[in-house]
Structure formats: C-alpha cells, structure tokens
C-alpha cells in the first residue's frame, strides 16, 4: 500500500481538491471529519460531475463526496483486497489503521484468525491506500522472480520472460471513446462522464488521432473556469501515446510508467489505426490469479493443516 493518503476535510472547496489531485497526481481524495475519520471519497469523476452540473468551484466537498469509504485490513491478502475491489467496482481501497491491535491479539490467542477482520470492525481512519496500480507493481516483481511461473515455461531456469507470452492485444479494451477536435468541451465531458472512462481520443477533420483529453485535463479546465462551449482542441494534450497491439504487455506497462500515464492507446500496424486502449488496471487484472503456481502456493498459505 501507499502511505501517502491525500486527505481533505468536508468543508474544503472543489477548487482545492482539484489542486491537491494535480499536485499529488492522485485520482481521488479521502474526505475526513475533524477526528480524521473517513466520511467519503471524491474522485476526478465526481468532480467532473460537478463541472457538468455547473457547480461553483467554491462548493464544499461534502456536496459531491461518495460514501461509504471502502476499507480493507492491512492483514488482508492481495487476493481478498482485489476481490473486494471487483465486487464493489472500485479501483482503490483504503487500508484501515490498526487501532484495535489489542483485541486482534486476543482474538489470535483464542484461535481466531486475526487477519479476518470484517469490514465493519475496521477503524475509519486510513493508514494507507491500495490501488490496482500498486498491485500491478507487486505482481510484476513476483512474476519476474518466480521460478515456478507457469508463464515462464517448463524449464524453471529458463530466462524466457513473461512478456514473451502476454501481448497487449490480449488484455486491452477494444472500445475507445472518440471525439472530433472541433466538438464542444461540454460534449466530451458528458461522454467521458457517461462512459466512465478516463480518456477520450481526439481526431482531426481527416480522422487522424491528434490528441487526448483525460479526466485531469477536464478538471483543470474546470479550475480555470473554462466554459462548456469552447472547442475541445483547446484543452487536449499531445501527443497521443500508443503501443502496437502485438507488443509484449511488459513493454506497454513500462511505457505507461515512464510516461506517467495510466492508460495507453493501442494501434495495429500504424499509430493512426487505433484499435483499443490498455490501462494499468487491466494489466493488474491480467496478472492477478492467472498463474497456477501462485494460486497453489496461496492455497497452502491460506488453509493451513
């Protein structure tokens, strides 16, 4: 998990939340009360909703937050955390502070498994945050080192890489949200919000990909007070970052991390021929539970004789 949790109190304005998101490069902030206990989460999508609804930037976060906050225990297995993320369709879980350390210890002595906290017994204070991208990093390390990886082949000493097996095209999402550069900012915002995506591909009048509008670009436009009626090209970012669909997954992952982006467009043969989009979350999903060697070892750990 990451220890840095960006926290803001419920009375803080949307404008300040946007600044914190840009400053710390996060997709969401945790909203807390005076006791530092979590009361909700505000994500870029929630802020986009506020922009779409013409809410003023001084609106407090209490007006736009989403509750309840989903927590996991620091002792939960990654599998359990991933399962919880999938079940609730979220990309992050906050990791609860262990303020009930004493009672956990007693539970352990009495034979109960101290790692099996029910979410309701967890502290409402966050000690950290766990996102898909964190898991992607961990899995990268484990898969890389694991001599028993089924993806490595039958020879445990083989140096054949995981990337030789998984290709971008196998993991990507084939549908891409697209707009013309001349479309109105409000229209792009509406479709990004409606489709729940992070990126829209922008094309010029000839249909060539020329730029990208991300949720970050949109919340910055909100902070700058830009009206919905301007052409989308005024806020789009360039260049369009892409990878070939036959490229190894690992290379695409490296490219995303290197470019500081969470999603990358996928093309076939030439960069103008966009066929899909690949996100860090998809990479994390593809790497999770896909390896039988790890699955076997997890079962041994979780079900002791």
């Amino acid at each position: 998990m990451r220890r840095l949790v960006v926290r803001l109190q419920a009375h803080v304005s949307i404008a300040d939340a946007i600044r914190q998101m840009i400053r710390f490069k996060v997709n969401a902030v945790l909203v807390t009360d005076e006791k530092n206990e979590a009361v909700g989460v505000v994500s870029k999508t929630n802020i986009l909703g506020a922009y779409y609804a013409y809410l003023p930037l001084v609106t407090p976060l209490s007006e736009v937050l989403v509750a309840p906050v989903l927590f996991c225990s620091p002792n939960d297995s990654l599998d359990k955390a991933l399962e919880r993320m999938r079940a609730h369709n979220v990309h992050r879980l906050y990791v609860a502070e262990q303020e009930i350390r004493g009672s956990r210890l007693v539970a352990g002595l009495l034979g109960a498994d101290p790692s099996r906290d029910s979410p309701s017994s967890l502290s409402r204070r966050a000690a950290g945050v766990l996102a898909y991208t964190d898991i992607a990093g961990l899995l990268y390390r484990y898969c890389h080192k694991c001599p028993r990886s089924t993806l490595r082949g039958t020879d445990p000493k083989s140096n054949q890489r995981l990337s030789d097996h998984l290709r971008v095209g196998e993991v990507m999402t084939a549908s891409v949200l697209e707009h013309r550069e001349s479309d109105l900012l409000g229209d792009v915002m509406e479709s990004v919000f409606r489709e729940r995506v992070r990126l829209a591909l922008m094309r010029d009048e000839k249909g060539l990909p020329t730029g990208v509008i991300s949720t970050s670009d949109l919340i910055i436009a909100y902070l700058h007070g830009l009206p919905h009626e301007i052409p989308a090209r005024e806020i789009m970012s360039q260049p369009v970052r892409g990878c070939e669909q036959n490229q190894p997954l690992e290379e695409a992952l490296q490219q995303m991390i290197f470019s500081d982006i969470q999603s990358i467009f996928v093309y076939k043969h030439s960069p103008g021929n966009i066929t899909g989009i690949l996100s860090l979350s998809e990479v994390a999903r593809a790497r999770s539970g896909s390896c039988k060697a790890c699955l076997a070892s997890r079962i041994q750990i979780e079900e002791p004789v």
């Binding site: 990451r2 404008a15 300040d16 946007i18 600044r19 840009i22 400053r23 710390f24 490069k25 991208t133 964190d134 992607a136 990093g137 961990l138 990268y140 390390r141 890389h144 910055i220 902070l223 700058h224 490296q254 995303m256 991390i257 290197f258 470019s259 500081d260 982006i261 969470q262 860090l280």
Partner: protein, 156 residues
Amino acid sequence: MGVTAREMMETDFVALRPWNTISQAVDAFHRANVKRGQKTFGLVVTDDENRLAGILSLYDVLNLLRPKHIHIWGEMHDVDISGYLDESCRRAKAIQVGDIMSTDVVRVNPDAHLLMVIDLMIKKHVRRVPVVEDERVIGIVYASSLFYQLIERLRD
C-alpha cells in the same frame, strides 16, 4: 530590533501570479535568490490586486517532477529510466502556478508580535509568513531573517 511583523517584514519581494507557468515560476525563484542574496524555498502568489492567492514552495515543484507511479518503480528494477527526468520537466513547464499552489496559507497582520509569528512558524512548519493588511500582501517575514536577528540577543 523591532517586535512586530511590520518592523521585521521584507517589503521588496518577488511574487507570482496564479496564471504564471512553472517555467516562469522557476525564473522568479532565481530572481528572488538574487534579490535576497540567499536561496528561496517558496514564493507568495498574489492576484492583480495584490491579494494573497497562495504560496508555491519548492516541494510543490518537486512533487510535479516525481513520477506518479514512483511506488511501482521500486518494484521494477529492469525499467530503463534514462530520459525520464527530461520528459518530466517538459511536462511540468506548462503547468500553471495556480493549479498546484497551496491556498491554505498562514498569514499575519502587520501588528502581530514577533513571538506570535515565531509560534505560527513552529506550529505550522513554515519558513515564511505573508503580512496582510486590508487583504493586500505588504511584506513577508522570513524565519531566517527572524532567527539571525534574534540570536544577536543571545550573544554574550
């Protein structure tokens, strides 16, 4: 030596505007270094009317250069990071000061006693405090100036 913020503040200071880019902010940091004859770690941000809008510190700029996925980098020893810093700087240059500045700024009025200013600096972990009168920034009290003036009293 004075005992109020007004008597201790520096009135000739470099200020940023919220719409300045990070590239322009870096130039302003250099100007402030020359003007004060020492390294500057933060600049006030004011609007056209000289009202306090925020503060931009060196940490805000460093934060921009820090990779979003730095926590994953530690796990990926085989990632070639050559050229990352240049790319990161290129991206950061165009960002506006108003997008990343801190708006929750500790400030004092000109008649605040120095001990109150010191107390604020210690409690809030800040090295500079803008002095605000009628909503306008009229000066800055720097922790370094305060310290070096105060320690004169500690000499034998």
